[in-house]
Symmetry: C2
């Protein structure tokens, strides 16, 4: 039976929020791997805020997805057949496999995962890119230490929830900012000392209340007004890790820069951008430490799994409307 590979190819560069018509839903027969290649059946596709940026033309930290190319995505699957000596049928792997049901790979950039050590979706979340982003952003970029008051925005998201929990593990006071009662309850259940619901209270004032001595570390996933509110509440010597700016990715009127940036001067503070790929040679170290925290229950992982390959466009939008809690994953096949 010749299997069919369905895929989403980029059809147009979106203006504002991506629409279904910004992709072409196409299909092709699955081909056999050539020498050195392997064939992977994709099980889980990771949906990440950064994907919006990959759809734009222009220079960034990775090249844009080309028009007509399969939409770029991290995904996890099972090897069906392999002519690459490093991989065997039955292996589980993840990497930039794209928004499709099957992928042919030469093995470059693929990581093998052990389904017995953790549930497969965790490898796309806490033990994957979001977890690595939280770990290195918090500990390395922001140089967080136990005496710090740490504020995390997008705190109920895949990166934010892990960043806040790691800060708690390290002994910090941690305040999370999230949208809505349920998300705020979720992060309090995770052990955050306080949660600010940006949909129902002024963040500027709430930060002043919860951080009477100012913010030492601000881990920013959202940008926009919340970044300005954090800037207005910095402690002397504060460090801001710029992880993302989800509030700005779909703007059609231009990015809102942080008008309170002169707080950096007043408070001798640092704002630093980072890209997790730069820490690739230390992923294993981080995964070991986070794996141990997961095993001991100190760190909790949550995935928000939506089923159905064809639902990719609308599921991606959940990220930007704030509908997901935890790592958003599209399930496209049974494991």
């Amino acid at each position: 039976m010749p299997a069919v590979n369905h895929k989403f190819e980029l059809a147009a560069r979106p203006v504002g929020l991506p629409k279904r018509s910004d992709w072409n839903f196409t299909q092709e027969p699955v081909r056999d791997p050539a020498d050195g290649e392997l064939l992977i059946k994709i099980i889980y596709i990771s949906l990440d805020p950064a994907m919006r940026g990959w759809m734009n033309a222009g220079k960034s930290y990775v090249p844009p997805v080309g028009i007509g190319e399969v939409m770029r995505a991290l995904a996890l699957g099972r090897v069906l057949s392999s002519r690459n000596p490093k991989f065997s049928p039955g292996d589980h792997v993840y990497g930039l496999l794209g928004v499709q049901e099957y992928a042919i790979s030469n093995g470059a950039g693929l990581t093998k995962v052990d389904p017995k050590a953790a549930p497969l979706p965790v490898y796309l979340g806490t033990l994957g890119m979001p977890g690595m982003t939280a770990y290195f952003g918090l500990l390395d970029v922001a140089q967080t230490k136990s005496s710090d008051t740490v504020v995390v925005s997008g705190a109920a998201g895949a990166v934010g929830a892990v960043a806040g929990q790691i800060a708690k593990i390290k002994g910090c006071r941690v305040i999370g900012i999230a949208g809505g009662l349920a998300k705020c309850q979720y992060i309090k259940d995770l052990g955050f000392d306080a949660a600010i619901d940006y949909k129902s209270e002024p963040v500027l004032r709430a930060l002043a209340t919860h951080c009477p001595n100012g913010i030492d570390v601000y881990f920013d996933n959202v940008g926009g007004d919340i970044l300005d509110a954090a800037l207005a509440n910095l402690a002397r010597g504060a460090r801001i890790a710029i992880c993302g700016a989800i509030s700005q990715y779909n703007t059609t009127t231009g990015i809102k820069g942080p008008s309170n940036y002169l707080s950096l001067l007043v408070n001798r503070a640092t704002m630093k951008g980072f890209v997790v790929f730069d820490f690739a040679d230390r992923y294993l170290e981080a995964a070991r430490e986070m794996g141990a925290w997961l095993a001991s229950g100190k760190l909790k992982s949550r995935e928000d799994i939506v089923e159905g390959f064809e639902k990719f466009p609308e599921t991606l939008l959940m990220l930007y409307s704030g509908e997901n809690t935890g790592k958003l994953i599209l399930k496209v096949a049974e494991s």
Copy 2:
């Protein structure tokens, strides 16, 4: 003869550019110093962009000048009489003596200067706060090294001209941004590799031309659109030292935040604010090194001296209209 002290006291918190009516021009008899005090006749008053910020209410790195208080300013003068054992009549001193003709001080925060080692105005410029700001901002905050391409805004100003020259001394390629042909010629005469006239050419494109491999260090004195242009031209791992934002100090419509700040993320770059006072325990070290550069002719100092105490309000405005080249100083008495 009972001398009279004229002074400018803050009368109102300015909206936009300060007006003469934002100060009261008052006078009082000069009193004798009490025990532990000294009386100083002020010769030169330093006019600095930061003075605009000191006139605003609200928390900053120093308390605001109170309504009715003498306007805060660095100034240099000669001791007339002293009941403080550390100072003698004839000593030259500088410190936060205020916008007035005579000052009574208890000696705290005063620095003695040697008029034989350098002309007095230089102690308010290259060997004073602006020079220290350039030195520590460039070398310490931005961690500039010889292989760096360095861009300095406000490059013909007191801080910028010194920052650019130090970068040249350290072996960097240095591009200055200044307003008008004369200032651009001035910084080229100082040894800058290139000058961009923001009044006559698009800075974004000019930076791309002059920094084909991107900007490694951006020393920012101006903020606004020029900061955005620099952000758009960063090299990987760039460092931005936020020294000031003179384009924004008199805004009545809100500070313009840098809308290109996500370039920090793309380029793994750092934006760091600083206040020179934090380096007070190393001023002497810096002054020695800069003094040697001045003596050898490697570093040139330029002061823009306006005479007449009563001209304080309109002279201060020269900073914000970009009329001065080099360190702006008000001369209020003969040395």
